[in-house]
């Protein structure tokens, strides 16, 4: 899942990016409203963490403009302004949820997961395909009760495929949603990760879960 963090306080934005990265999300940072709109235009984010009080273009305006072009991106507002009017205005402009600063990081993660669940076909906090079970909260995967040890990036690839189960996902789309702007973007990267995931799956007896559709991508 790829997330854009829009926050003008550099120390806060960078810490959020590091924390989200550790949780297996691909995170980019924009320090003002203008940069946020450019990044949101270029990349297909699953979720945007948006501070309301931004230089250049105000957060509420950023929210409104992103909603005009992208309806499916989740938006989580961050605000130090705790007045009801501000929050109502933000939600009315298309934000899915809000969090008041200062907040607890685990709560931010929980709210991000909740918004991402709403976007997907299933609202279950635990993802399941046949006997393969993924717990995005704990970042753990199981097959028939046996744990599969995946790296955060491998987990993210598998999570994205499961969230889009039944649909063919291209290598480019995986790159877009699992890796952030700083990554070296080659489709080769996806191939290597896919190979490792399949190896680990077959170790626990889960063969043939992921199909390759030649020239188009992968499907679970």
């Amino acid at each position: 899942m790829r997330i854009l963090i829009v926050e003008d306080e550099k120390d806060l934005a960078d810490a959020l990016a590091r924390g989200l990265h550790k949780q297996g999300y691909a995170a980019d940072v924009a320090y003002d409203g203008e940069e946020a709109l450019v990044l949101a235009e270029v990349n297909d984010y699953d979720l945007i963490v948006l501070d309301l009080n931004l230089p250049r273009i105000d957060g509420v305006e950023v929210c409104r403009r992103i909603r005009e072009s992208r309806s499916s991106t989740g938006i989580l507002m961050l605000t130090a302004r705790s007045s009801v009017g501000d929050r109502v205005n933000g939600l009315d402009q298309g934000a899915d949820d809000y969090l008041i600063k200062p907040f607890h990081f685990p709560e931010l993660l929980a709210r991000i997961r909740a918004i991402l669940r709403r976007e997907g076909p299933t609202r279950q906090p635990i993802l399941r395909v046949e006997d393969l079970v993924l717990d995005p909260n704990a970042q753990r995967a199981f097959f028939e009760g046996v744990e599969i040890r995946l790296t955060t990036r491998e987990f993210a690839v598998l999570e994205y495929l499961i969230r889009n189960a039944g649909r063919i996902v291209s290598q480019e789309e995986l790159l877009e949603h699992v890796w952030n702007e700083d990554a070296n973007l080659f489709t080769h990267t996806v191939k290597v990760h896919m190979m490792n995931i399949r190896k680990k799956l077959s170790k626990v007896g889960a063969n043939g879960l992921i199909d390759t559709v030649k020239g188009r991508g992968y499907v679970i």
Binding site: E9, D11, G19, K22, F103
Partner: protein
């Protein structure tokens, strides 16, 4: 019919009431005395009803008539007096109650008012008299109190909002490191750096809030201040900062005649804040000019810079608390958004004025005007 203004006053009404009462009393008294006299005149002659009437000399009869008449007069006037006391007490009680009723209303409302329900008003509707004036003055005072409380509330909200940001930064950074399974020395080092910066910001903010609340109000610290000496100190203090930013700092001031009455420390703070801003929001290789001159009866201090200037809309708000022209830049420079608000508070506490003239792209000029102090 329109009454003249004096006729509406309570004073006039009370006067009318008392005149009416006195007329009434006087009339009653006259009636009583007249009745007594009439009775003594029209009744049967006293000397006839007297047991020894037959043997009385004219002198004795005359005395008897006189004493009987005086006795009657005394009795009637005593009764009249008692009646007047009773009527006066009852009437006064009723009348003063009627007149003072609105005062009661004002005082019971005043007792109800607290900091939480300053919205209440007496809203007295009645003739334009002293009571109405009292009620209106009271309402005016409530109005002023309410807006002062509102301003205070807004200020506390702004200040707490300003405090939340460094707290959020510190908290998130701590929690992100906490979530790490095996945080390394680098993570801790970075965390400490961030925590230090956040603490700096919070302590600077609390210092500034204190400065802002104190201003230059404490008259016990006031003395004759030589603004030329203040400028010398400011320029000396700001010199290193300006040199580091490759900005030339010029000072132009007369050596005497620049005296004002005030708190030397807060005055220095005010000028220092202006110079600090002029250096911070300047271009590399730019200049800052600090000058003072006497324009009788004022002492003028001016701080000019070669920075980017301030737009017209921003100029109107730069002295507001927590207003920043360029938010990200101000924060990056460690600004609290209070510097110019402090300048204004200090200068106004000294009976002076601060103003700004600026053209975008050409720099800004801040001007402090203070009343000149002439030694006696």
């Amino acid at each position: 019919m329109r009454l003249p203004a004096f006729a509406k006053t309570l004073r006039f009404k009370l006067t009318l009431w008392y005149v009416a009462i006195i007329i009434l009393f006087g009339a009653l008294f006259l009636v009583a005395v007249n009745l007594a006299m009439q009775q003594s005149v029209t009744g049967p002659p006293v000397f006839l009803s007297h047991p020894m009437a037959a043997s009385q000399t004219p002198t004795e009869i005359y005395r008897l008539v006189r004493s009987t008449q005086l006795g009657l007069l005394r009795n009637y006037s005593l009764i009249g007096f008692a009646g007047l006391v009773v009527i006066g007490a009852v009437g006064g009680h009723f009348l003063s109650g009627r007149m003072l009723k609105p005062v009661d209303r004002v005082s019971s409302l005043a007792a109800r008012i607290s900091s939480t329900n300053l919205k209440e008003r007496i809203g007295y509707e009645g003739p334009d008299d002293e009571i109405k004036r009292l009620a209106d003055t009271f309402d005016d005072m409530l109005e002023r109190l309410e807006s002062a409380f509102e301003a205070q509330k807004q200020f506390i909200q702004d200040a707490s909002h300003e405090l939340r940001t460094p707290i959020a930064i510190a908290q998130t950074n701590i929690e992100v490191v906490e979530m790490e399974e095996r945080p390394g020395a680098r993570d801790y080092k970075r965390l400490i750096e961030v925590l230090k910066l956040s603490l700096d910001r919070m302590s600077k903010l609390s210092d500034n809030l204190l400065l802002l609340s104190e201003g230059g109000n404490d008259r016990s610290r006031w003395s004759v201040v030589d603004m030329s000496a203040v400028l010398d100190e400011v320029v000396e203090e700001a010199y290193a900062q300006a040199a580091a930013a490759h900005i030339s700092l010029e000072l132009e001031r007369p050596s005497e005649g620049m005296h004002i009455m005030g708190d030397p420390l807060s005055m220095k703070q005010a000028v220092l804040n202006l110079v600090d801003n002029a250096v911070k929001y300047n271009r590399r290789g730019g200049w800052v000019k600090v000058s003072a001159r006497s324009e009788h009866p004022l002492v003028i201090v001016q701080v000019e810079d070669s920075g980017g200037g301030i737009s017209e809309t921003d100029q109107q708000r730069v002295f507001d608390r927590f207003y920043r022209v360029d938010k990200s830049r101000s924060r990056a420079q460690g600004g609290s958004g209070l510097g110019l608000a402090i300048v204004r508070k200090i200068v106004e506490d000294h009976g002076g004025l601060v103003s700004v003239h600026s053209t975008l792209g050409e720099g800004s000029s801040f001007r402090i005007a203070l009343p000149h102090h002439t030694p006696v």
